[in-house]
């Protein structure tokens, strides 16, 4: 019976994704962290360590070959996890989510718009970083391993988007969201082969931390699909399995804890933003 009302659900979701994209471009800070920063880091890292190669168990690899997939994944994490945690809690505290609940728009469609836009930005960030790596630094990418790249990307983006929503659900006020999101993602990046590579030489407990959380599995799965040494199809099922497991847990947390109303005392409906991180 709901179908008789207004536009179809699919067209509403598309409409909301586009609206959120528009908002994204109009707030430069989000675009900076999700798109520009990873690209800039790739340029910087290659400029700093460019001639360097490092040895894997298979052979010599250029720094760009290491940093390109790592920073592409970091772009995904920024665009999904960090941005969603911040944006959703802001939209909750400002009372946008509660406004939506008073309209016939199913609230999940609004959410789908915000999440869909974040995933779209994650894809853009990935394309930007990978294209730069391939074109400017001759990073390896093979058609036969493209499916593995895509699968890693989709599963990773899903996991981090889910946890972005879950974190928004867990933070009481929007003021806390940027700090909490960064306090999670930045240390994690250091133990997850994003900024530095480490395998054997790192202390065991650091490896354990890295292996517990999804970021390292995401980086390695994506990197494997771009590595000149891996064999097609280059899927890493166990690591992908960890991503799926985190997604399931994140979804449970988000479903149980997500609030549409601002917490009593949260700076409501007025003074926004800075989107400060």
């Amino acid at each position: 019976m709901d179908n008789s009302l207004g536009a179809s659900r699919v067209s509403l979701v598309v409409r909301h994704i586009r609206a959120q994209n528009r908002i994204f471009w109009r707030v430069p800070i989000g675009a900076f962290f999700a798109l520009f920063l990873p690209v800039m880091m790739l340029v910087l890292f290659v400029a700093l360590f460019g001639s360097d190669t490092y040895t894997t168990e298979y052979g010599e690899v250029s720094r760009a070959q290491f940093y390109t997939p790592a920073l592409a994944v970091f772009a995904v994490a920024s665009a999904t996890f960090t941005n969603l945690a911040i944006n959703l809690s802001i939209r909750r505290d400002e009372g946008i989510l509660r406004r939506v609940r008073g309209t016939p728009l199913p609230p999940w469609i609004y959410l789908a718009g915000v999440i869909g836009s974040a995933v779209y930005m994650a894809l853009l960030g990935t394309v930007a970083v990978v294209t730069l790596g391939v074109v400017a630094y001759g990073v390896n990418i093979e058609l036969t391993k493209l499916p593995a790249m895509l699968v890693a990307l989709v599963l990773g983006a899903t996991a981090f988007a889910t946890w972005g929503v879950a974190l928004a659900a867990l933070t009481r006020t929007a003021a806390a969201a940027p700090a909490v999101a960064n306090a999670v993602i930045l240390p994690l990046a250091f133990v997850s082969n994003v900024f530095v590579s480490f395998e054997g030489e790192a202390p065991a407990w650091l490896l354990l931390v890295g292996d517990t959380f999804p970021l390292r599995h995401f980086v390695i799965s994506f990197g494997e699909a771009m590595s000149p040494f891996s064999e097609a199809p280059a899927f890493l099922p166990e690591r992908l399995g960890v991503l799926v497991a985190w997604t399931v847990v994140g979804a449970l947390v988000a479903l149980r804890k997500f609030r549409w109303e601002p917490a009593v005392g949260a700076s409501s409906a007025r003074g926004r933003r800075g989107n400060s991180r």
Partner: protein
């Protein structure tokens, strides 16, 4: 006449505070009900329960034949809401926001028409974040009307409007009633209630303390007459002036005002008191009570009165 809203014994507590304490009323189709009351009276809580935004603790509520706590998409397609405070995606323009939110309704209004109605034509393509407070409130009003609702909830819709915008939005709202729409609005402005409402419910401390047409409410203290005069600074105590009065007095600075059911006797007492002391009562007036007097006598003037934003500011 069909009942659009039926409320019986509605209660809602926040912890120990009984914000809504046994409220009952009906709104028939096409009627405009204004809920008046001081800050914290429970107006927003009541209205938001009717909208389905808040849960209730007890009582029966039926809105358009639906329990708003369970109302789904079809219910929300028929109502329009202007919340007392709600955000909007502020990086969008007014037009973009209306397009976005309008798309979910089965029979949205024309966006250009609506923009003109709330007088935002010049600002329609500016980002909402760049609008002034009153202009943003007009965006709220437009968003509340975008679905062409048959029942409209307006929680202090004109707070922050300049006098002209307020008059203009009154026209918009009366226009809706002439189309047969049902409206529940809360306001602190007595002139707004008087102008727009078919019926006024006065709320205080979670209860409805009076309910009727503006004329009926005025009549309820109609027998009362307002006597007012300026009192010069005096050294002697005023018990001799105030104690024998039949009516209830109140002072504002040097102005004394009181409502009395026995104007002749009270006036005689006041004037003889003044004559004995050779005092001239400047600005002495004797007039029938207005809605504001009714309101103040109902909600108790000493509490909350200074921040309840009366029409005369």
């Amino acid at each position: 006449m069909t009942t659009a809203i039926r409320v019986r014994g509605l209660t809602k507590s926040y912890g120990d505070l009984r914000a809504v304490d046994g409220v009952s009323f009906d709104v028939v189709e096409g009627e405009v009900l204004a809920i008046l009351g001081p800050n914290g009276a429970g107006k927003t809580t009541t209205v938001e329960i009717l909208e389905g935004h808040r849960t209730r603790d007890g009582g029966d509520v039926s809105v358009l034949g639906t329990d708003p706590g369970r109302g789904g998409r079809p219910f929300r397609d028929r109502i329009g809401i202007v919340l007392q405070a709600a955000g909007v995606d502020r990086e969008l323009s007014t037009r973009e926001a209306l397009e976005l939110y309008g798309a979910a309704y089965s029979t949205p209004r024309s966006i250009d028409e609506l923009i003109e109605l709330v007088e935002l034509t010049d600002k329609a393509d500016d980002r909402i974040v760049s609008l002034s407070g009153g202009q943003r409130r007009r965006v709220d009003l437009a968003l509340g009307l975008i679905g062409n609702p048959e029942l409209i909830f307006l929680d202090e819709p004109t707070t922050g409007f300049d006098p002209r915008a307020r008059r203009r939005s009154w026209d918009v709202i009366s226009n809706l009633t002439s189309l047969g729409r049902t409206i529940v609005l809360t306001t602190h402005y007595l002139d707004e209630a008087e102008y727009l409402a078919d019926r006024v419910a006065v709320m205080a401390k979670g209860r409805i303390v009076a309910d009727g047409t503006p004329a009926e409410l005025r009549r309820s203290v109609q027998s009362d007459t307002k006597i007012a005069f300026d009192l010069p600074r005096l050294d002697e105590p005023l018990v001799e002036l105030f104690d024998p009065l039949i009516g209830q007095g109140r002072g504002r600075g040097h102005r004394v005002e009181f409502l009395t059911p026995a104007p002749t006797a009270d006036l005689a007492h006041v004037t003889s008191w003044a004559m004995q002391r050779g005092i001239e009562l400047d600005g002495l007036t004797v007039e029938s009570a207005d809605l504001e007097d009714v309101y103040l006598s109902l909600v108790g003037e000493d509490e909350d009165s200074e921040d309840s934003g009366r029409a005369d500011g």
